[in-house]
């Protein structure tokens, strides 16, 4: 038995660290317990081949909340940007790329009508994203058993809606429920523009552009604008540096951080969370336990269904958290050459998703536990902006690949349709073929490669299902339905246990708001008690 803490935070992912810092700042004695050897969780940097390292899971920062980064003084604690406000380049195999940089589009093929429609669309959705950003900065309101704080949140939301004006308000209430495919058809002609926008709407989601609710996914991506990001940003030293900065900030505020300690259970005494037991058998006690792990890991793995009410246990088993995105890291012995892409744009975000139907077909596969024969990719070459990640003259290409199922029949190492190749090898080959359509010659440059499937992401980062938002960000799992009814507002149904991870409102995306909102809620309740 060691010394007693006020709060134990399970997991040193970015939300865990943010939450711990805020609690420590308010005078709580906080211990963060992390299974991995470095802080950051999904925001960690890993060496995947000798001399080559890369952000293992999350690759871009595009919506880290400025309040969080200011309160934690991240820049003082070592956070540096390798590049900010990067554009998204939709690759074209013939070299007629479309570059989207905030509200600006560069393309030779865009009609005047499309440009005008884009301006209208961008302004309009920007207003909706602003409203959403405000909603995300506070805990999700309860609608029935609401108290004053909830009513204020609802009032702000209602007022925000009204202030949009009648046209915008009714438009928002329609499009947030609709799908990206139809909305794009309403606005634009250019297949490229439609594709790059709908790609954003389904990134990380088990959805195709035709899936209702995808417009919400797009608005979610647009949140960053309100947090000071005009495009994606790249952290110097990889995402791990962000984790390190957060850890440094937490330590300065008095948070104790124990790495390499896996929590094996969250313990309760008399129906109240009282501490955790580590894999080593060591027991740690605290008045409160806060879990930044995903809800399934938290409730099923750590609390245990036998300590929970059956209705609640059923809800936990019903949440949808199957990841569909894989990560491919390539170690290259030189700078890849993409057809028609100048060197300056190589450091930006490169997207392969030629049109919406391509994207939709790619999605079809994952519904049947298959991987896309023609996948869609979100590519970064981080070593262009930050050469430290690879030996001199060499480069790393790292991509999010959609869609990859959690478990193809027989598992990822099981045999694929192609003789002699496992699913993993076959999919890697498919992805390489796809990249080579845009960057001929890249295959000869590959020194090493690593494919992280949802199963690998689950194992490496402890995210059930390998979903980087912990839970699917679909309309039935957001706001007061996140993670599930009965466990909203960061409380969990078990007294003394709170949630602060991406599985809680408002979700993931290295935003930090789940951790911040959770800390505020814990402190508020503490004051009331």
């Amino acid at each position: 038995m060691t010394e007693r803490h006020d709060v134990i935070v399970v997991g040193a992912g970015h939300n865990g660290l943010v939450c711990a810092s805020y609690l420590a700042r308010a005078g709580r004695k906080v211990l963060v317990v992390e299974a991995g050897d470095s802080p950051g969780g999904a925001a960690a940097t890993r060496e995947f081949a000798p001399g080559y390292s890369v952000s293992g899971c999350a690759q871009w920062v595009y919506q880290l909340h400025p309040g969080v980064s200011r309160d934690l003084e991240l820049e003082r604690h070592g956070l540096q940007w390798a590049a900010r406000d990067l554009a998204s380049v939709l690759l074209d195999s013939r070299g007629c790329h479309l570059t989207l940089s905030g509200a600006l589009i560069e393309s030779d093929q865009l009609s005047g009508d499309d440009r005008e429609a884009w301006r209208a669309f961008h302004d309009r959705t920007g207003r909706y994203a602003r409203l959403l950003a405000r909603v995300f900065e506070s805990r999700p309101p309860k609608l029935v058993e609401s108290n004053l704080a909830d009513r204020l949140t609802l009032l702000r939301l209602g007022l925000g809606l009204k202030l949009l004006g009648r046209d915008d308000m009714s438009d928002l209430m329609r499009i947030v429920l609709t799908n990206m495919y139809d909305l794009m058809e309403e606005y634009f002609d250019s297949p490229q523009l439609k594709a790059v926008l709908s790609f954003d709407s389904v990134l990380g989601a088990r959805m195709g552009p035709r899936t209702p609710g995808t417009v919400f996914g797009y608005l979610y991506r647009r949140l960053g604008e309100n947090f000071g990001y005009n495009g994606v940003a790249q952290v110097k030293g990889g995402m791990g540096a962000l984790g390190q900065a957060m850890a440094a900030s937490a330590r300065v505020r008095g948070v104790e951080l124990r790495l390499g300690c896996r929590v094996s259970s969250i313990d309760s005494v008399d129906g109240r969370a009282a501490g955790v037991t580590l894999a080593s058998g060591e027991q740690l006690r605290a008045a409160l336990v806060v879990s930044s792990a995903d809800p399934v890991t938290t409730f099923k793995g750590l609390v245990g269904f036998r300590h929970m009410e059956t209705g609640m246990a059923r809800r936990v088993s019903q949440v949808r958290c199957e990841g569909i995105a894989a990560r491919l890291h390539l170690a290259l012995d030189g700078l890849p050459r993409f057809t028609g892409l100048d060197g300056a744009r190589l450091g930006q975000r490169l997207v392969i998703a030629p049109d919406m139907n391509y994207l939709e077909r790619a999605f079809n596969a994952v519904k049947y536990r298959e991987y896309s024969p023609h996948p869609a990719l979100d590519i970064s070459i981080p070593t262009v902006n930050d050469p430290a990640g690879a030996p001199a003259g060499c480069h790393v290409l790292s991509a999010i690949v959609q869609f990859a199922p959690y478990g193809p029949p027989g598992g990822w190492d099981g045999p694929s349709a192609v003789a002699g190749l496992s699913h993993r090898e076959h999919f890697t080959a498919l992805v390489l073929d796809k990249i080579a359509e845009y960057a001929p010659g890249i295959k000869e440059q590959v020194v090493a490669s690593q494919l992280l499937t949802p199963v690998d992401l689950e194992r490496d980062y402890g995210m059930t299902g390998g979903h980087w938002h912990h839970l699917e960000l679909s309309l039935d799992q957001v706001m007061m339905m996140r993670p599930f009814p009965g466990a909203t507002q960061y409380a969990s149904g078990l007294d003394g246990l709170y949630l602060c991870g991406a599985g809680a409102h408002p979700g993931g995306g290295v935003m930090g708001l789940a951790g911040k909102n959770a800390a505020r809620e814990i402190l508020r309740r503490g004051a009331a008690a």
Binding site: L143, R166, S170, I175, L177, D182, P212, D476, M480
Partner: protein, 538 residues
């Protein structure tokens, strides 16, 4: 020419319902119908000598009982005969059957999965809870959330109250139900593929969505919220075919003094001095009227029979973007005798209900993938019935009629028009699927009428062959149906109204849109409300 107070364009069931209420209030009303027969998609036609086909809509349940009673439809000849049963055949030769008897139902589900048998009760209770919540809103005008008018605010408050009564978790569950896919929803209860497929099919009927598309759980409800003689969720056949519904409504219209004029093809709604002044027919005649109600779908109403200059530009834009893609087709088949189905005795009560041949959600979803790719489903989902077992009036003695609703069929094939060869291919995929489970089926076929979205559009005038006059996706429901700002049955021009399934609460031969529109018209005329607004409490 006689001057009418109100003209209703289209003698579908909603147009007739609307006209009946206007006539009942003492207005002089005419219903104009393009076809030589009435009914729209609520129609029975003899397309093969001796056989009557319900060749569009084919079963009856959602027709609001308040309206049927109020307009005395039984007295005007409507008789709805309930049917039970329902079966999904499996590829392995087994089947899952649906029984009304509770114990038998339990045993049948348990035969496939004991766990599912125990979950079934919970599922039924939960769906019923959602049904109970929505039913009172069928015969009401949807409130406009952007409005500050007293009536809207009051309706919204009432709406909010009925939701808050559910409690925090109940409310969240309801919101989830509305936003979930039917596949995900059923996965929460069941493990057996065939049971999920049997229940899941109703979540996509008439909708250009797959079983894994969010929002389809609600469509499931659309097929549970009807009732027969107070028996919620049950279904029946209109004796003599669905045309009997339209015929009874027409008699009711006439009994109240309304006129029904067939072969009257409307060219446009005439607007003068910013107000509706009548309709112009294609034959050059003009019928004056201060009120014109369109039973056509929103696309046709605004883009075909109204002058763009009479409409606000944003409305033309909204109508152009209104989602009304067809997703289904229909086969109507005259049979020389009752076909036999593998594993079923011909006296088995399961024969009386809906039959399906899709035994997993995956097959349902793959059928949808074909629609997305711009072609008909190679392995379609069918909802097949042989109503002549219950209603012998529709075929000669000993003979039978089969109605086969087929999903999916896109409005266009790979961007081009349907050709006769496409239609033949579509027909073949359906007949082959049925024949795989019925050895004598093909030899019994005397006549087959195959309707793709092309035929449905040409005959009934439903744009792109969409059976609900607009997709039932959740961005097109309630105050968004047909589009934001126009969900309260009023058009943009004084005197112009909408009463079709493209308005709240949507399609399914409910007659609710027609009644709701009539209520709004009477209100604008400051006439007493004669339209039933409550609901039969279950």
């Amino acid at each position: 020419m006689k001057k009418y107070d109100a003209i209703v364009i289209g003698a579908g069931h909603n147009g007739l319902t609307n006209a009946a209420y206007l006539a009942k209030s003492g207005l002089s009303v005419a219903v104009l119908e393009r076809n030589p027969y009435i009914g729209g998609a609520t129609v029975s036609r003899e397309l093969y000598p001796g056989w009557t086909y319900s060749n569009c809509s084919y079963v009856c349940s959602l027709l609001r009982p308040e309206i049927a009673r109020d307009l005395e439809l039984p007295r005007h000849g409507l008789q709805v005969v309930p049917y039970g049963g329902g079966v999904t055949f499996k590829r392995d030769g087994d089947y899952y059957g649906n029984y009304y008897d509770h114990n038998r139902q339990y045993r049948e589900v348990a035969r496939h999965s004991l766990r599912d048998a125990n979950a079934y009760e919970r599922y039924a209770t939960d769906v019923r809870k959602q049904t109970r919540l929505i039913r009172p809103y069928l015969l009401r005008r949807p409130p406009d959330p952007t409005s500050l008018k007293l009536r809207d605010l009051r309706d919204l408050a009432g709406f909010a109250r009925s939701f808050t009564e559910l409690g925090e978790e109940g409310l969240a569950d309801t919101l989830r139900f509305w936003t979930k896919s039917v596949g995900d929803y059923l996965n929460e209860y069941f493990e057996s593929d065939v049971i999920k497929a049997h229940l899941g099919g109703t979540g996509v009927i008439g909708t250009a969505l797959g079983v894994y598309s969010p929002g389809t759980a609600y469509v499931l409800l659309h097929h549970y919220m009807g009732d027969m003689d107070g028996n919620v969720g049950s279904w029946g056949f209109a004796r003599g075919g669905m045309g009997a519904v339209a015929a009874a409504l027409a008699k009711s219209v006439k009994a109240f003094g309304g006129d029904i004029i067939c072969d009257a093809d409307v060219d446009r709604i005439v607007v003068r001095h910013g107000k509706v002044s009548g309709v112009a027919l294609k034959n050059g005649n003009e019928l004056p009227a201060g009120i014109v109600v369109s039973n056509l779908d929103p696309r046709r109403t605004f883009l075909d029979i109204m002058d763009r200059d009479d409409l606000p530009a944003e409305l033309v834009h909204k109508a152009g973007n209104f989602k009304i893609r067809g997703s289904s087709g229909k086969l109507n088949i005259a049979l020389d005798g009752l076909p036999t189905f593998n594993g079923l005795d011909r006296n088995n009560p399961l024969m009386l209900g809906d039959m399906h041949f899709t035994d997993s959600l995956e097959r349902l979803e793959r059928a949808y993938d074909d629609w997305k790719a711009g072609t008909w489903s190679k392995d379609p989902y069918v909802d097949m019935l042989i109503p002549t077992q219950t209603d012998p009036t529709m075929a000669p003695p000993g003979k039978h009629m089969m109605t086969v609703f087929v999903q999916y069929a896109p409005p266009r094939i790979n961007g081009g028009e349907w050709t006769d060869a496409d239609r033949a291919g579509f027909e073949q995929s359906v007949i082959d699927q049925i024949a795989a489970h019925s050895p004598d089926f093909k030899s019994l076929i005397l006549h087959c009428e195959t309707r793709t979205p092309r035929e449905i559009e040409a005959e009934v005038g439903l744009t792109e062959g969409n059976i609900f006059q607009g997709e039932l996706t959740f961005d097109q429901l309630l105050f968004n149906r047909p589009f934001p700002g126009y969900a309260q049955y009023r058009g943009p021009v004084p005197g112009m109204y909408m009463c079709g399934s493209g308005t709240h609460p949507g399609g399914g031969v409910m007659a609710a849109p027609g009644a709701n529109a009539a209520r709004e018209i009477l209100r604008d005329l400051r006439l007493p409300d004669v339209v039933p607004g409550g609901y039969a409490d279950d």
